[in-house]
């Protein structure tokens, strides 16, 4: 250890393992809950169970992509204030190989098992006579699906790996070259991440209803992921303060700034979601409106179904509530209130994913299945989340808790309101 490192009062997180939650606890919980979910195949309907897994893994991927984009944005703007909160995010984005492994079973089961498990277009023979599939078959076919998925995860693992490698290496040698290298990574990483997450959203969620199309869909996926990732960042940072790791490091100014970005993305989510709805509503073309009809009406009876209520919940719970909360300056400086709203944002982000994914499963008469949470929705969400936290805490224990030799670390430590 060099003299300058020894002189500092910030010790590596590895020196104080007892303060934080034990990573292996999360591993046990994660394995147990994912195993319970997988065992559900013996009792539950295959489509619905696979959907539980898809929603959970896509939720955590959205969160992780939001974290990845936060780190990229930090570098591209040469931001100062966010240097200390960048480190927990860097630990989080080491999760992509794990998420690739957790996503793979869905792809393999669709390819080699039940083709229409989730994505009906995977069952070529069933959709061969459907002109709307034939016209899209260059994109919606198993080969392209596999290749693209390898590209998606490959890109995220690669970009996240570069960011992590340079940031952690800078702790040791203090070279500014690492900062510059990460700025370059951000320059190509942002368009690369934007394109890959857009097409991932097309494949994973939009193609569940493969007749439907919305070019803004990737932006919606990004907005949801960013919001959830920012909420998770607040929770992790406040947890680290509570455990003493971030005391004197994570300031009220950081919390206020995160609250302000959350306000921006709350508005952004509403803007994108409304734009998508509004354009489809205004154009009134049946190829597009059926997607919203499914989420409002039982087609046979014309009565409102449970998705109408979920839609209103999203409007008020995912927009108006956080919007008015974050408008109040005092709210954003109070840790207890921020914890409450961030937990809510994470929950409602999952409901948002469910609103997009779940109605693709139909009842016998063609109506969407009603909104409902199964045991396996919960076990998949908790299990995969616990595995993500296992990855996070394992990574966290290996490095210093802040990028101590980053050129902008002092600026960040003095981030006041």
């Amino acid at each position: 250890m060099s003299a300058s490192q020894a002189a500092t009062s910030v010790s590596p997180a590895a020196d104080e393992p007892s303060r934080l939650a034990n990573a292996s606890t999360f591993l046990v919980v994660g394995v147990l809950f994912t195993a319970i979910t997988a065992a559900g195949a013996m009792f539950a309907d295959g489509h619905r169970l696979a959907m539980s897994w898809l929603m959970a893994v896509v939720f955590w991927i959205a969160v992780s992509l939001g974290a990845l984009v936060m780190v990229l944005l930090h570098h591209i703007f040469d931001a100062g204030w966010s240097t200390v909160i960048r480190r927990p995010l860097e630990h989080w984005i080491g999760v992509f190989p794990l998420l690739a492994g957790l996503f793979a079973p869905l792809v393999l089961l669709s390819l080699f098992g039940q083709h229409d498990l989730l994505w009906k277009w995977m069952d070529h023979e069933a959709v061969a006579g459907d002109i709307l599939w034939v016209k899209k078959s260059a994109f919606l076919n198993p080969t392209a699906f596999v290749v693209f998925n390898i590209l998606f995860f490959g890109a995220w693992i690669w970009v996240a790996g570069r960011l992590r490698k340079h940031s952690f290496a800078q702790d040791d040698d203090g070279s500014v070259e690492h900062t510059l290298a990460n700025r370059k990574t951000a320059a190509f990483g942002i368009p690369l991440t934007a394109l890959t997450l857009t097409f991932a959203a097309f494949y994973w969620l939009m193609s569940l209803e493969y007749h439907w199309f919305s070019t803004i869909y990737g932006v919606w996926f990004f907005a949801t992921g960013m919001k959830a990732a920012l909420a998770l960042t607040v929770l992790i940072c406040l947890y680290l303060v509570r455990k003493g790791v971030f005391v004197g490091i994570f300031q009220t100014g950081h919390l206020l700034n995160l609250g302000n970005i959350l306000l921006a993305f709350t508005v952004f989510w509403a803007y994108i979601s409304f734009s998508q709805y509004f354009l489809i509503y205004n154009a009134n073309v049946p190829e597009e409106t059926f997607w919203y009809n499914l989420r409002e009406l039982n087609l046979a009876s014309g009565e409102r179904n449970s998705w109408w209520d979920v839609g209103l919940l999203l409007l008020f719970g995912n927009f108006f509530l956080p919007f008015f909360f974050f408008l109040g300056n005092a709210n954003k400086k109070k840790p207890a209130r921020m914890v409450a709203i961030c937990v809510w944002i994470l929950l409602i982000a999952f409901v948002d994913i469910a609103f997009n994914a779940l109605p693709s499963i139909k009842q016998a008469n063609g109506d969407a299945i009603p909104f409902g949470v199964t045991v396996f929705d919960v076990t998949a969400l908790v299990g995969i989340g616990a595995l993500c936290f296992w990855s996070f805490f394992r990574s966290f224990a290996r490095t210093r808790c802040i990028p101590i030799r980053d050129p902008r670390i002092v600026e960040s430590l003095h981030c006041h309101e």
Binding site: F274, Y277, F278, Y281, N282, N284, L327, N329, H416
Partner: protein, 177 residues
């Protein structure tokens, strides 16, 4: 000169000394006073005991007015003044009134912000007694100043002067109105 006295001006050498002096003036209970520095000093708002700006209230008022106006305008035009069916839609729905309401929310929020700023800071001021003091010229270079106005209820030439001296002023002058 004292007949037209406006207040006292005191020069300090460093940002730190003017900041500590500001804390002393604040703690002595003065309300009509100001600090003049060549550049913004971090933490000065707290040292002066300044509260958070009230501009956001004007912004909010502007935003609510804009949103309401937008909704009323589309409702009145489409459902009252000249009812016309467009694209099979109802005469009025908040959905298609939303974009224009949203734009007006932003526009009137911006107007409210700018108007609120000018109302609260009372700019433009074409004349200010501080401009007449020769030493105040250094406020654009290397001088850090505190001005206490005569109108302050706690003002007294002797006491205020001694307070500023104790606070570390290197030069004190009287301002003519």
């Amino acid at each position: 000169m004292s007949k037209n006295l406006y207040g006292l001006i005191a020069r300090f050498e460093t940002p730190a000394s003017v900041m500590h002096a500001a804390e002393k003036v604040r703690d002595s209970g003065y309300t009509r006073w100001d600090v003049i520095t060549p550049f913004p000093i971090h933490g000065m708002d707290a040292a002066m005991g300044l509260k958070r700006s009230r501009v956001p209230r004007f912004t909010l008022a502007g935003g609510i007015t804009g949103f309401t106006l937008g909704m009323l305008m589309i409702w009145w035009m489409g459902a009252v003044d000249y009812p016309l069916i467009v694209g099979g839609k109802p005469y009025f729905s908040p959905i298609f009134a939303f974009p224009i309401s949203y734009e007006l929310t932003i526009l009137l929020s911006a107007f409210g912000t700018i108007a609120g700023m000018f109302i609260l800071n009372r700019l433009p001021i074409h004349y200010h007694p501080v401009l007449k003091a020769d030493m105040a010229a250094r406020a654009t270079d290397d001088g850090f100043f505190i001005v206490i106005e005569k109108d302050d209820p706690k003002f007294s030439v002797e006491k205020s002067r001694s307070l500023l001296e104790e606070a570390g002023a290197v030069e004190i002058g009287e301002l003519e109105d």
